[in-house]
């Protein structure tokens, strides 16, 4: 079988097109599109105004508190240095914040599809987030961690897909 014959045979084979996708499978792939959305893009999803402020507020509050604690300790340290001979360091009180780490991690994302009594399909996008705040005081070897789980359930229109 020479190259020319191989090419002809190859062209004959190509005439046999793969079977078209079953209808149900096409629908499945359309639904699967959401799962294909990379996680990084999920984080960039535009939120309603109130949600943005809520998210900002949730982080601003502990961050502000940590900053205030840091300032107070810093100021207290200067004062303490001036009276170091009179008072032991142990009574200075408060944390000296060396490091504040904040993280907002997407733990899980999935879709739930249900059918209303009238037969109308509804879809909910469920996301599980984990917020974490870590405050470290190296001089005292203290690390304070706060974890807050958050579940978002957002209805999504089918037409969106």
């Amino acid at each position: 079988m020479n190259d020319h014959e191989l090419q002809r045979f190859e062209a004959e084979l190509r005439r046999a097109a793969p079977a078209p996708l079953p209808e149900g499978f096409i629908a499945r792939l359309r639904v699967a599109k959401l799962d294909a959305e990379p996680a990084r893009r999920m984080r960039l999803e535009p939120k309603p105004g109130w949600a943005r402020w809520w998210r900002l507020g949730r982080w601003a509050a502990p961050a502000m508190a940590a900053a205030v604690v840091g300032l107070m300790v810093g100021k207290g340290k200067v004062d303490l240095q001036s009276i170091a001979n009179k008072k032991p360091l142990a009574v200075s009180g408060g944390l000296q914040v060396d490091d504040v780490q904040m993280d907002h991690e997407l733990v899980n994302s999935f879709d739930v599809v249900a059918t209303l009594p009238g037969g109308l399909p509804v879809r909910f996008r469920c996301r599980q987030w984990k917020d974490q705040l870590v405050v470290t005081d190296k001089s005292r070897g203290v690390e304070v961690q706060q974890h807050s789980p958050l579940v978002e359930v957002v209805p999504v229109r089918f037409e969106t897909y």
Partner: protein, 172 residues
């Protein structure tokens, strides 16, 4: 309702076009790897989703990656279910589902090709499928099947020769 979610999803047209263009060949490849059509559909869906998720940019995933994922998942599935031997035996049997378009004019011819393909050794069938219907280059086939490109080329040639001898009643 979240009407803004369109912006961060793969563009509707990109996704639809990519699926329309490549999914039939992906499903054909997956059907050859499994016993059941439902398993084949699962493999394609999982591989497509996984491959799109791995992409750091909005561009579609490389086809070789999708085929490689289907193949690996099929092996995992066969191992998990202890059906690998059954899968290889079943590859030599007639399948209830049609691998190729069963239009009236081409039905008999395509069924003959399917029958001949199912009698090909798996190593040939994979390469022939990826080259003829998947449209992959030998380099991409090598990547998908984790074999050298030269091996892919020689398997392709041997596979075509064997396939032609099996279909000589149609292709003279």
């Amino acid at each position: 309702m979240n009407s803004g979610s369109k912006h961060e999803l793969p563009a509707e047209s990109d996704w639809e076009q990519w699926i329309a263009r490549h999914a039939p060949a992906l499903l054909l490849f997956a059907r050859q790897q499994t016993n059941r059509d439902a398993d084949a559909q699962d493999l394609v869906q999982e591989a497509v989703v996984e491959s799109w998720r791995r992409q750091s940019q909005d561009a579609p995933p490389p086809l070789a990656l999708v085929y490689a994922t289907i193949r690996r998942r099929a092996i995992d599935l066969a191992r998990r279910d202890g059906r690998r031997a059954g899968r290889e035996v079943a590859a030599h049997q007639d399948r209830p589902e049609c691998w190729f378009d069963a239009g009236v004019e081409e039905r008999e011819r395509n069924m003959l090709i399917q029958k001949a393909m199912s009698h090909l050794p798996e190593i040939y069938r994979q390469v022939v499928t990826l080259k003829v219907w998947g449209g992959l280059t030998f380099g991409e086939i090598a990547e998908a099947l984790e074999i050298p490109a030269n091996t892919a080329a020689s398997r392709y040639r041997n596979g075509l020769i064997e396939l032609r001898s099996l279909t000589k009643e149609v292709f003279i």
